[in-house]
Amino acid sequence: MISIENLLTWLIALQTTYLENKQYLTDLDAAIGDADHGINMERGFTAVKQKIEATDHNDVGSLLKITAMTLISTVGGASGPLYGTFFLRASTACARKTTLTNAELVNMFDVGLQGVVQRGKARLADKTMIDALTPALEAMTQALENGASLTNILQAGTDAAEHGMQQTIPMLAKKGRASYLGERSIGHQDPGATSSYLMLKTALDVWGNEET
């Protein structure tokens, strides 16, 4: 069972994650983009942290909606609307909930991913964040169906996201800024796939111990 507190812990931990990986993500973006992805993510989640720490929360849906709106209005770029849409859709899937079961958690991620796909219109192997998120969702869904524990579900998702992220290296970018590079986009890891992997990895780190 994921409580609102658990969600808060995760969202706040994401700020630390993106702060620590600001340079790493920005360097990845410098190679095939415009050198701001880490800056964007850190700015967004620092704002989220400030916002959600300032008030009390008793509804997962509205917590995620605040997160979404804050990301939308502070990140900008491509990742702002995409992660913003992710959390906005996720929030609708969690409206008026105070806790989430494993199934509801996986569903939340799934609905969020659908939002990203709709907003960005990227397809698998276009070298974007969905190349990390899609296999992660498949793995988590599979683990859930197998009755795995939360830790194992998140472990499966994180591993798949990491693998998906690595798989972006040989890809030729078709969407986002990296697509302008054509052939030269090959050989570089996608920054957005990396930030998506880090999102799951952080969930695993903060929730992995607290068994449901």
Binding site: D34, N40, G76, G80, R177, S179, Y180
Partner: protein, 333 residues
């Protein structure tokens, strides 16, 4: 990183305050929504024009706000698209009842953020049209990719559509003109040096002492090809060939030409480049009817330039010559 700034986090807002103070007669700045607006807006009955994008391309877009051009410009962080709430606020602020045109450069972030901003306004009953500019021939166009970037044609579209709105054209007409300008405009850029995003603190890419990047974007994105530095003559020949053969431009065409510095290129070089471009056009029977030579759509301190050619009909020339009064472009008033 050597920059004339205070805190990297404050660069955009402090520059916004500066532009507001320097052009208080023309502009009003909403610091909260990082938006520059015409001081005399909203203009009742006039179609309003909004553009915006990441900062670091000055004078674009804030320098083009004013009579005969934009009604508002939304500023994002450096090289990062502004956010939907900015576009929403700007759209509401400038709407004079005749609807609002969003002129959007084709970058995934810009397109999505403007789209979300427009959705918010349309939900409240404001007529919003969006035109996406995608004129960069350095990028291969395709239905299955993000497509071509929006670069220099944006400036020309803002001028021409601003004039059309000023004379009273309705939203559909202004949007159609914008699409036509986009259809007939082509650009390409190159760089001698990278630029440094203030918050990143180091150059986006590294170029050797004898290298250049051809087909560069305006955000320090690497270009399609890195090659040994050539003479201005060879570079302009290469770039104009790519531009001219794309539309294609043909003998007898009249064009508006923009020779644009990326921010760190001295004007003496831009005029030398204009000379090369002019000779190439003349040799092909293409007449440069109007031109801009200078820093109009920049990438911070990047050294390099871009060329934009727009095939212009008589109506476009009339709109070009119409009065404009903004910080960066001014004539007829």
């Amino acid at each position: 990183m050597k920059k004339l700034i205070n805190d990297t986090a404050d660069v955009v807002s402090e520059a916004l305050v500066g532009i507001g103070a320097a052009h208080a007669d023309l502009l009003r700045v909403d610091l909260d929504k990082k938006t520059i607006m015409r001081a005399d807006g909203p203009i009742q009955g006039k179609v309003a024009l909004i553009s915006g994008g990441g900062s670091g391309h000055e004078p674009m877009h804030g320098g083009y706000v004013g009579m005969g051009m934009l009604d508002a410009a939304c500023a994002g962080e450096v090289f990062t698209s502004p956010t939907p709430d900015q576009m929403e606020a700007a759209t509401k602020a400038v709407d004079g009842g005749a609807g609002v045109l969003h002129i959007v450069k084709n970058y995934t972030g810009d397109v999505m953020n403007f789209e979300m901003g427009a959705e918010l306004c349309q939900a409240e009953g404001i007529a919003v049209e969006a035109v996406v500019i995608n004129d960069d021939v350095a990028v291969q166009d395709s239905l299955y990719t993000a497509g071509r970037r929006g670069v220099g044609t944006t400036v020309l579209a803002e001028k021409l559509c601003g004039a059309a709105a000023e004379r009273g054209d309705d939203l559909q007409a202004v949007a159609n003109l914008c699409r036509k300008v986009n259809d007939q405009g082509r650009s390409m850029g190159m760089a001698l040096t990278s630029c440094t995003v203030p918050a990143a603190g180091k150059p986006t890419f590294e170029l050797g002492p004898n290298e250049m990047e051809i087909g560069i974007g305006i955000h320090g994105e690497p270009g399609r090809e890195r090659m040994e530095l050539k003479s201005a003559r060879e570079i302009v020949a290469m770039m104009s060939e790519a531009i001219l053969s794309d539309l294609p431009f043909e003998s007898g065409d009249q064009v508006i030409a923009l020779v644009n510095g990326m921010g760190g290129t001295p004007l003496i070089e831009l005029y030398l480049i204009y000379n090369e471009l002019n000779q190439i056009c003349q040799a092909r029977g293409i007449t440069i009817a109007r031109q801009l030579v200078g820093n109009y759509i920049t990438s911070l301190e990047m050294a390099g330039f871009s060329i934009t050619l727009l095939r212009a009909d008589e109506e476009m020339l009339v709109l070009w010559d119409a009065p404009v009064h903004t910080p960066a472009l001014r004539w007829g008033v």
